[in-house]
Symmetry: C2
Subunit: 162 residues, 2 copies
């Protein structure tokens, strides 16, 4: 039988070129604007902000945009089914805190960001850079979410150049 070398060659070529492409595509070129609140925000106001900004995750920052927490819809729902009055509690009691937050930088590849979203089981990752004013702290400069990845997936399927 005729060996289907050409067929397999094209297949492997395609998938390795595609893998390389995803590793070369950086978060800096695909990230969205981060939506931030501060720690004193009430759970009620944070929920309203999520609706107004149409996001599922808020990043919690201190002065100069230093990342100190992440708040998801899941965190807020957990409060809501408790005895908690959403208008009376600050989000600091419900958020995930630094250093327990998974982050990426603008130089992280889109492939690694996708992998981290799956591994960490979160919908959204803060994009951070080292703070210029606060030593050892991180400033939030963007967000990468499962929506970012899904949108890119569709663009790739449309055969657009990345």
């Amino acid at each position: 039988a005729r060996p289907r070398v050409g067929y397999f060659y094209v297949g492997n070529q395609t998938s390795s070129v595609f893998g390389e492409l995803l590793r070369k595509s950086l978060v800096r070129d695909y990230k969205s604007v981060p939506i931030v609140v501060n720690e004193q925000t009430t759970a009620y106001d944070a929920t309203v902000t999520m609706f107004l900004e149409d996001v599922g995750t808020l990043f919690v920052v201190r002065d100069a945009g230093i990342l100190c927490g992440v708040l998801s819809r899941k965190d807020l729902l957990k409060l809501a089914i408790g005895q908690t009055a959403l208008k009376e509690v600050p989000i600091s009691i419900a958020m995930t805190r630094m250093p327990n937050i998974y982050t990426v930088t603008p130089e992280t590849s889109i492939y690694d960001a996708g992998k981290l979203l799956i591994h960490a089981q979160v919908d959204s990752l803060p994009v951070v850079v080292p703070s210029e004013s606060a030593n050892g702290q991180w400033e939030v400069v963007g967000r990468v979410t499962k929506t970012t990845i899904t949108r890119l997936f569709v663009e790739l399927g449309e055969s657009k150049q990345v």
Copy 2:
């Protein structure tokens, strides 16, 4: 200057082969199990089910798995910030109802499912087939979410064959 024909050829080849691959990959091979509740479930119990099953969206069904609604974390949070007592209201007051629900079938391509997730601005799509018992109704047989797409994106980046 030497024309970089080979370079561009490989690029276009790659992206069109990739696009074709996404169009040939079907929802049937990538869908997850649907998590369903019925219309009389309270908002409180639905929230608990979301936590126990670790999903962000529930499908609401009548007998024999007929799809009648979709309930997201967002729908529940909207209730929570209202005056609503989550233990006292059925989810039927908060869910999106048929026929206003975006669905896919097992034969839908993964590419089209990704496109619909972005276009419809939802996190999860019910996978449905025509009901054998109820004429003109749809039975839920799976779910496709932004997590499904993100996971596939990472697999493709690992250069696995699809």
